[in-house]
């Protein structure tokens, strides 16, 4: 799983480099950065980051063989992930109403591609965690060594870590 995540990080590296490159050409950043609502996204960022803590707690309760707590923390992670997706969807809708779209200018292209691919990864992460949760409820896992859960957790942490970088570059970077 670590190798897969490592490989994925190169994918995001390429997107982030492109974003930085495109957002600093020809003054498109100063034209467009006022579209970004940093406070609002900041709140949803906190939701996503706290989901990293909940999945960590899920891992801890699994090690302590507390199955019930494990399931609750896992469900909490999924809900926090969904809140983040909800935030991103409403943000996109708002931007489209303001006529700020992927084809508006090069900043729009880079912004929607980068955050969109991240959102897609969060969505995949939620699906994977959901599958793990359903399988746990159905009693598919007999041993304590839940490789499937561990792998999903690594992936989830990775998606969060990428968001820290994306948020810093896109939203906080626009403040400078």
């Amino acid at each position: 799983m670590f190798f897969f995540v490592g490989s994925e990080s190169f994918f995001f590296l390429a997107l982030i480099i492109s974003y930085i490159y495109f957002s600093h050409t020809g003054g498109v950043l100063s034209e467009s950065s006022h579209y970004l609502d940093i406070k609002r996204t900041g709140i949803f960022t906190i939701a996503l980051l706290s989901s990293s803590i909940t999945i960590f707690l899920a891992d801890v309760s699994l090690k302590r063989l507390n199955r019930k707590a494990h399931r609750i923390w896992l469900a909490a992670t999924i809900i926090l992930g969904l809140i983040f997706i909800l935030g991103q969807t409403t943000e996109y809708l708002k931007l489209y109403k303001l006529n700020f779209t992927i084809s508006k200018n090069v900043f729009g292209s880079a912004f929607f591609t980068l955050t969109g691919f991240h959102g897609l990864h969060v969505l995949i992460g939620i699906l994977v965690l959901l599958i793990v949760l359903i399988m746990i409820n159905n009693g598919k896992f007999k041993t304590i060594e839940h490789t499937a859960f561990r792998s999903a957790a690594i992936y989830w942490h990775f998606v969060d870590a990428v968001w820290i970088v994306v948020f810093s570059v896109v939203y906080l970077g626009a403040l400078i």
Binding site: F3, F4, G6, S7, E8, F10, F11, F12, L13, A14, L15, S18, Y21, F22, T25, G26, V28, I102, S103, N105, V106, G108, S109, A110, F112, T113, F117
Partner: protein, 562 residues
């Protein structure tokens, strides 16, 4: 939730597709050997298509101002030929041999993730078919195998060809990443008892190192492909210069993948000859540590040389100087390998079997390709020769002279293991000489054509002195080259029925794949002895003088404890 589909287990090592459940066994298999064979057969199939495309181009270029092909058809042919040969022939050939041999060579019974292995193959095949599906959707891609923007943008390429190209490469990229992950984890976790990381057969080591290269390079390509797809489908502006995008960015991203890709295709081939040369020289490989370490050096350096494809862009002197220096540097670890192979042969009792001849041809031809490559790292030389036939000569010397020749060495070396029968040496020798002569005569003259200034990717050329003669010579040689492949197919066809029965270890080789039967049963090994050196089969056959007794004491102690 229970699925009630009957999935048959293969009972024979190689199920016959004409009998009963044979075909279904192939389609549903997760066995690394069958998947490996499917990769290799796919490579052969696409090779026929790719070679056909090349031959049509050679016929068009046979004489000046020829009208055999229209310019538009010619553009489609060279684009599809390039993409086809790199992604649909060389990649599956190398992945196929690795999928087949890697678990066997480390004494494992399966890959770490058998289902992922099957998924990688099928998604790769889907990608390949999608590329050719563009033919029925209004034209194949026609913008060259690296699809430079803005030519590949919708404004200039309004047909669907480029979209098909992008999706096809995306799928194949996902397949390659899956396969690479599988190789890394298999090598790390599935080694039989006793094999240390520094005792891996060199082919396994190279595939292992190479997989990291795939894991890092393909995602960059995928990101770039997504961007151009978004450009084309959703009117984004990544690579459209008119609206603030940057075509140069596409070049950076593409070659950021593209140059590692060259080594992705070369390293496994290096691994193959590193297996073949010692066996047919009856000597252990010279400087194992140097070959292994230089592969890592190549892997790391290959990420720092991409912009030597872009000297003509005008990125500035400092930038160019840096990439010129790094490109010269990467020739050093490759040179180390060449000298190691020569030193392995030195003083050995060399047996010139067909597999060995192909390995030698790799040493010769790859050196030529490497030298013209180092020449290109000199920026002024590159400016003079870029986009001429000199570049075409270089890429063919590296990819055919290197990768494909290594693949043939591996084919003659491992065919007995895969099928249980030997390939005919007699037809093999004919195949080799026609291949060697045909290849060199076809492509060596490209160097001269390039120096004369003939540009590549143009469907015809004016009737200037020498151009017509050299091109005609090249076309005739290409036909000789083509005959050599017909002989190879005939050899497979003939040897499958009438070839000599191979036995477990026809070459008296030393690595673990030769321990099991040929072809191996579905379960590769019933029992693998404790491995204590790089040549486990030598140790088995020579208990009085095993390798591990001669190595330094530290290592013996370590393996002895396990």
């Amino acid at each position: 939730m229970k699925l009630n589909i009957h999935i048959p287990e293969p009972t024979k090592p190689i199920p016959d597709i004409r009998t009963g459940e044979g075909l279904l066994q192939w389609l549903s298999t997760v066995d690394h050997k069958l998947i490996g064979i499917m990769y290799l057969c796919t490579a052969l199939l696409f090779f026929v298509l790719g070679f056909g495309e090349a031959l049509m181009m050679r016929i068009q270029l046979m004489r000046p101002l020829n009208n055999f092909l229209s310019p538009e058809a010619y553009n489609q042919l060279f684009t599809t030929h390039g993409t086809n040969m790199i992604f649909l022939v060389l990649t599956p050939m190398l992945l196929g041999f690795a999928t087949y041999s890697l678990p066997l060579m480390i004494g494992a019974n399966e890959m770490a993730f058998p289902r992922l292995n099957a998924f990688s193959y099928w998604i790769f095949l889907l990608g390949g078919l999608i590329l050719y599906a563009s033919f029925f959707a209004g034209g194949m891609p026609n913008v060259g195998w690296f699809s430079y923007a803005p030519l590949s943008e919708r404004f200039f390429s309004s047909t669907k060809g480029v979209d098909y190209w992008v999706i096809s490469l995306l799928l194949m990229g996902i397949g390659s990443v899956g396969a690479a992950l599988n190789f890394v984890v298999t090598t790390l976790t599935m080694r039989t008892k006793g094999i240390l990381m520094n005792q891996l057969p060199l082919f396994v080591w190279m595939v292992f190192v190479n997989s990291f290269l795939i894991l890092a390079a393909f995602p960059v390509l995928n990101a770039a492909l997504f961007m151009i797809l978004i450009d084309r489908q959703f009117d984004a502006h990544f690579f459209v210069s008119a609206t603030g995008g940057s075509p140069v960015m596409w070049q950076h991203l593409f070659w950021g993948f593209g140059h590692p890709e060259v080594y992705i295709l070369a390293l496994p081939a290096f691994g193959m000859v590193s297996e073949v040369i010692p066996v047919f020289s009856r000597k252990p490989i010279f400087g194992y540590e140097f070959i292994a370490a230089s592969s890592v050096a190549i892997m790391l350096l290959s990420f720092g040389v991409w912009a030597h494809h872009m000297f003509a862009v005008g990125l500035g002197t400092t930038f160019n100087a840096f990439f010129a220096a790094s490109s010269m540097l990467i020739a050093v670890p490759t040179g180390i390998k060449i000298f190691n192979w020569i030193a392995t042969m030195w003083g050995g009792s060399v047996q010139l079997k067909t597999a060995m001849l192909f390995a030698l041809a790799l040493v010769v031809n790859f050196t030529i390709g490497g030298l013209s490559g180092v020449g290109f790292s000199l920026v002024p030389v590159d400016w003079r020769l870029t986009d001429t036939y000199f570049v075409v000569a270089h890429i063919h010397y590296v990819l055919i002279g290197g990768s494909l020749t290594g693949g043939f060495a591996a084919a003659y070396y491992w065919f007995p293991k895969i099928t249980g029968r030997m390939l005919s040496e007699k037809i093999g020798k004919w195949h080799f000489w026609l291949y060697f002569i045909g290849f060199n005569c076809t492509f060596f003259v490209f160097h001269f054509l390039g120096l004369l200034g003939m540009p590549r990717r143009v469907y015809t050329y004016p009737d200037l002195p020498y151009l017509g003669t050299l091109n005609l010579f090249s076309t005739i040689s290409a036909c000789v080259f083509g005959i050599s492949f017909i002989l190879f197919f005939w050899n497979i066809f003939y040897s499958l029925r009438h070839g000599k029965i191979a036995g477990n270890n026809p070459w008296n080789a030393w690595t673990l794949e030769w321990l099991t039967s040929s072809p191996p049963q579905q379960k590769n090994f019933e029992k693998v002895p404790l491995v204590r050196s790089r040549r486990p089969l030598w140790d088995m056959l020579h208990p009085e003088d095993p390798d591990w007794k001669r190595e330094n004491k530290n290592k013996i102690k370590k393996t002895g404890n396990e």
